[in-house]
Amino acid sequence: MSSKISAGGGPIVEVAELTREFGRRRAVVGVSFALSAGECLALFGPNGAGKTTLLRVLAGLLRPTSGDARISGIPLPGGPPARARVGLISHRNMLYEALSARENVAFAARLYGVSDADERVEASLQRMSMLERADAPVRSLSRGMQQRVSIARAMVHSPQLVLADEPYSGLDESGARALTTLLRELRSSGTAVIVVTHNLSEGLSLATHAAMMQRGRFIRYEAVDGIDAVAYATSYREALAGD
């Protein structure tokens, strides 16, 4: 159904010693990792650890201060070609409240120059079970539904890399299930995903890799295979306490 821009085989995200500073405040410090097609990185860490900043750099909203970051081989800041390959889900839903779900998703389709826009919009809404209230103004929808629309919006252009910043926040049961199914489907269709979440078990069950961030650095980074969930949870609690 979706025609993806070919990744050409290399990693979809490659980050080496990435640093982002705001004046003297160092939000992301020397972060390195890589993700190939179909892989998923779960990113954990206390508030203020730099997770959102890292995602915003990869999404093209912030420039790296130093270090190297590439999206499908395009070095950041990569401009339009890099941004076209990324889909961003944030806990701020980035929607226009006066417009309907359908209009919001269609607008995104136009921004990304999506071909067969009408079909893709419907498909995206359907995946997030939002067809029924697709024409109501977004402000009349519940928080959970708004989040679903936001996710549908982020997917409409079939990105190669999905950045999801606490995507489960605000979602109800069925919304959360739809999201998990979606993320699994994305992985099997070759999309790379980075998920920021506070929910350890959810994150570890979705991901191929896990990273723990604190004060801008990756204090742990490993493949999920072979992680002892209990020990991981303990070290996570320690990280939260130590911050």
Binding site: F22, G23, R24, R25
Partner: protein
């Protein structure tokens, strides 16, 4: 950067202060009175150099703004901020001395046909908006970027104000009591003017430097606060 010790006299402010004092004495006592305008004309030696500094300061703000957007060096932002604060003071002096001079000479406090005076008024507006804008932004990088944009926009505005007032004045000749044509200055007066220009420029740089040092110290302190947090 070595601090100027309290025992040594800082040279720039001292020289500037001496120059201004010398100018004032020369202007008041050793420069002839202008025939038609009398004693009031002596404000000229304060008004004109202040205007020169006001525009110089803004020119430097605009240049620093442009270079900042290119290089993103925070020192350029500090420089622009300092030049703007010093500049606004001199601009205010121009706007006060202007009417004080105009009233006895032209019979009116404010002259809308005076292109330079009105341009200075708008310079004042831009300076004030620049400083208010800076005050309204908490994040230093955002503040630096936004002020730089305003600094550059302001530089483009001044020529248009100049042109608008010029057109306005040529189309609406105003009845003025004794509007002076451009007088050619006798050497004595020219010398005083030159001295005054030099003294005010030195004063500008003296104020600029201390304001810049203050900004540097303030930012260093703010950084230590962040580090401790």
């Amino acid at each position: 950067m070595p601090r100027s010790s309290k025992t040594k006299l800082p040279w720039l402010p001292t020289v500037a202060g001496a120059a201004v004092l010398a100018t004032v004495i020369r202007a008041a006592y050793f420069t002839p009175l202008e025939a038609k305008q009398g004693a009031a004309q002596k404000i000229f030696y304060l008004h004109v150099p202040a205007a020169w500094v006001a525009f110089l300061a803004f020119f430097l703000v605009a240049v620093a703004s442009g270079v900042y957007l290119w290089l993103r060096d925070v020192r350029l932002d500090r420089f622009a901020e300092s030049s703007a604060e010093v500049g606004v003071v001199f601009t205010t002096i121009v706007l006060i001395t202007g009417p004080l001079w105009a009233r006895p000479i032209w019979g009116t406090f404010w002259a809308w046909w005076d292109v330079r005076l009105v341009s200075t008024l708008f310079l004042w507006f831009i300076y004030v908006s620049y400083l208010v804008l800076r005050g309204a932004i908490d994040s230093p990088p955002l503040r630096a970027r936004y002020s730089a944009v305003l600094g550059i926009m302001g530089a483009f505005l001044i020529p248009f104000i100049h042109l608008s007032v010029y057109l306005f004045a040529t189309m609406h000749p105003m009845p003025i009591v004794g509007k002076p044509s451009k007088p050619s200055l006798p050497n004595e007066m020219l010398l005083t003017l030159m001295l005054s220009l030099m003294a005010f420029t030195l004063l500008y740089f003296a104020f600029l430097r201390s304001r810049y040092e203050l900004a540097t110290e303030r930012d260093a302190f703010a950084d230590t606060v962040i580090d401790d947090a």
